[in-house]
Symmetry: C2
Subunit: 453 residues, 2 copies
Amino acid sequence: MSARNSSDGLKVDLYELTMAAGYFQNKTDVRATFELSCHTMPENRSFLVACGLEQIVEYILHLRFEDEDIAFLKGLPVFQHVKNDFFDYLKKFKFSGEVWAMPEGEIFFAREPVVQIEAPIIEAQILETYLLSVTNIESLVATKAARIVAAARADGIARGVIDFGSRRAHGPEAGVLAARASYLAGCVGTSNVYAGKRFGIPVYGTMAHSWVEAFDSEEESFERYHAAFPESIILLVDTYDTVRSVRKIVQMPLREKLKGVRLDSGDLKTLSKRVRNVLDKAGLPHVKILASGNLNEYKIAELVKARAPIDSFGVGTDMVTSRDYPALDLTYKLVQIQEKNGTLKYKSKTSPQKKTIPGKKQVFRQYDGKGMFKNDVIGLATEKAPEGAQMLLRPVIHDGKLTEALPSLKAVRETAAVKLAQLPLDFTDIYKKQSGKVEYTKKILQLKTMEQL
Amino acid sequence: MSARNSSDGLKVDLYELTMAAGYFQNKTDVRATFELSCHTMPENRSFLVACGLEQIVEYILHLRFEDEDIAFLKGLPVFQHVKNDFFDYLKKFKFSGEVWAMPEGEIFFAREPVVQIEAPIIEAQILETYLLSVTNIESLVATKAARIVAAARADGIARGVIDFGSRRAHGPEAGVLAARASYLAGCVGTSNVYAGKRFGIPVYGTMAHSWVEAFDSEEESFERYHAAFPESIILLVDTYDTVRSVRKIVQMPLREKLKGVRLDSGDLKTLSKRVRNVLDKAGLPHVKILASGNLNEYKIAELVKARAPIDSFGVGTDMVTSRDYPALDLTYKLVQIQEKNGTLKYKSKTSPQKKTIPGKKQVFRQYDGKGMFKNDVIGLATEKAPEGAQMLLRPVIHDGKLTEALPSLKAVRETAAVKLAQLPLDFTDIYKKQSGKVEYTKKILQLKTMEQL
């Protein structure tokens, strides 16, 4: 979770550390720039939401190699000829470079650097694996969540979406990171209690089916729940028979405190209408309906279109695993090196289908007269922004130190809302596949053409 | 990663803790049995590999609620009417119940309990979220890895598969858990260094494209790598032009120490044949070819079928995210409760499509005369095993204590190999969709029919 946990220095691919040992012998004076970007846009995604920078920064600022981790490395056969001065270096390791990044909540597209690291090559190299995996889960889930949230209010009614996915996330840590990412992208909260404590995200929960089953009757389970939580109750009504359950509830004294009912299975469109009807006829029009059960943006869009009277959605598996596209095509590529004497060398791969574009970059975003996204221009970091364009990559760490405190999660959540609202409707329409217009400056195109082995 | 990390008690869905507070008022004397199972088989999977028990056990044995976590809970509005005696209970929380589980490496199918917890209901309830998420990532990846490993040796040649997926896993912890799961299922190692330290998994790595690019020529990058790691080198040859790169290498003095080359892009079938040809003509038939680049079981099967001369595979994203099926349909369901006076009550949900089968269970596995898997019979835990059948659920924790030390990862890896070998070929054929024959005993079927609200 945090770089202050034990052994974070080893949570990398082995080659980062063998490369580091090699660079220590050969390239200590060389500064390198690496860019983290998404190689291709996912299918069924028109935009990506930048997320994970806070965890990346925490990792970079606190990354150290502990004695027992260094001892482990020394014992690996591959390091048998590596001299002790490298391990002494690791012992004193502290990131001293520069980090430029898009703020969390920013919209990005394929080929645009989201994070750019410039540092002694050995330092920049070591960060690769951790940065990629954090950006993968958080940007992946933030992007999926943004689509789900958009679907839930496609008709202009602001239905809340709550993250219920921790149990199906890829392990406990992934559940916490997914809770953060989905909140950033517009969810109203999460079921994950630790995410509530760690990140200040509102936590939500209703009741378990096992609670209802643990009592001799459904009524008793509801009454006992009400006794324990007298102020505000949301009852889970689908353990046996949804509509019958609601018919019972509206006859019970606890109806006075009832805030909502949760449907978790069956045909949510029909059931929500029938349940709404029972509640309304019983004089409970203020009682809300929360629906869950294998939901995603497409199912929610259909429910909204069918005017299912659902007030909020609990979404789990599809959101926290980004089930229809569970990994971003992220890479961390060397784009230039600067030797001790100041010589700058542009770097790129020329492998088929994996060509990279050299040079330390900036992304310039242009808006139309109404403040809506128009297009992006990728240029060299040294180029001047086109008239009126916004520079998306901003300095985050300078000389190994944070340039300024990162914004709070609530603030980046607001940023994301603003940025998503600046996207033309075709982008947030979940059924359309748009591609943000991304151009290159002449200078970059020249480099691309000129770059030779 | 470990239950001894901070705040593991909060890495649950809020409702586990509100239920706990409710049970504390109502059901302290009730023992409950919950079963963790997969509701439906994934598409494109004929079997599942049980994985994650070691992490589950570590969590259960060490789960505590720290003071600051309890303070956080007390501050949540939902707990405002919950009395202090519940929080005092949490302070002293220690799991006191029973855990029965399939050993890691065992094969399982939908509807079969993989883990079964019997404990005071409050204790059993709290474990739900964590157990599900750990089982999800580990069994998911072990299952996918088993298919990939099977594809890599479909022609009887034992090609190694190495986990290269950490960078695309759902966060750093998921990468480590995926490394463990894929090794258990037959991979020969991982690139993840921490997984090597934590679990004793062999760690592998080659070199980065950035290493090759960081030098003025590819030759220089290879020479400097050889100088740093003189004993054994595997060179990455696709940064610019794969075949040209290998032609250069075979002329270099370092060819004497060359153990392998790695292809990471392009048409691996054609390239591996051309590279093999260059190596063989240069008198280097012992130099191995490692291939990687967005591989999965289907692509590997095609390469094997086309007799591509590849000796081992590095597999990443598709394996660690189980890309074609990134979440198991796991549930944790109450199946019976026992009241203080000894009364046993069977419990089940009757929601449409989500019906559950009551009763504390055992899974009896039957083999044919050749020791191959024949079928499973799910019965009550109290039933006698059919003649010659094996009982898959075994006691792991009794009265809150480990019954015996868990087997080492190497041992469970061997278990998995044996269990996979006992599956008829139709199950491990990646193109076929089999379904393990799973029957119920009469007693279970009677319960299923009799069970009423």
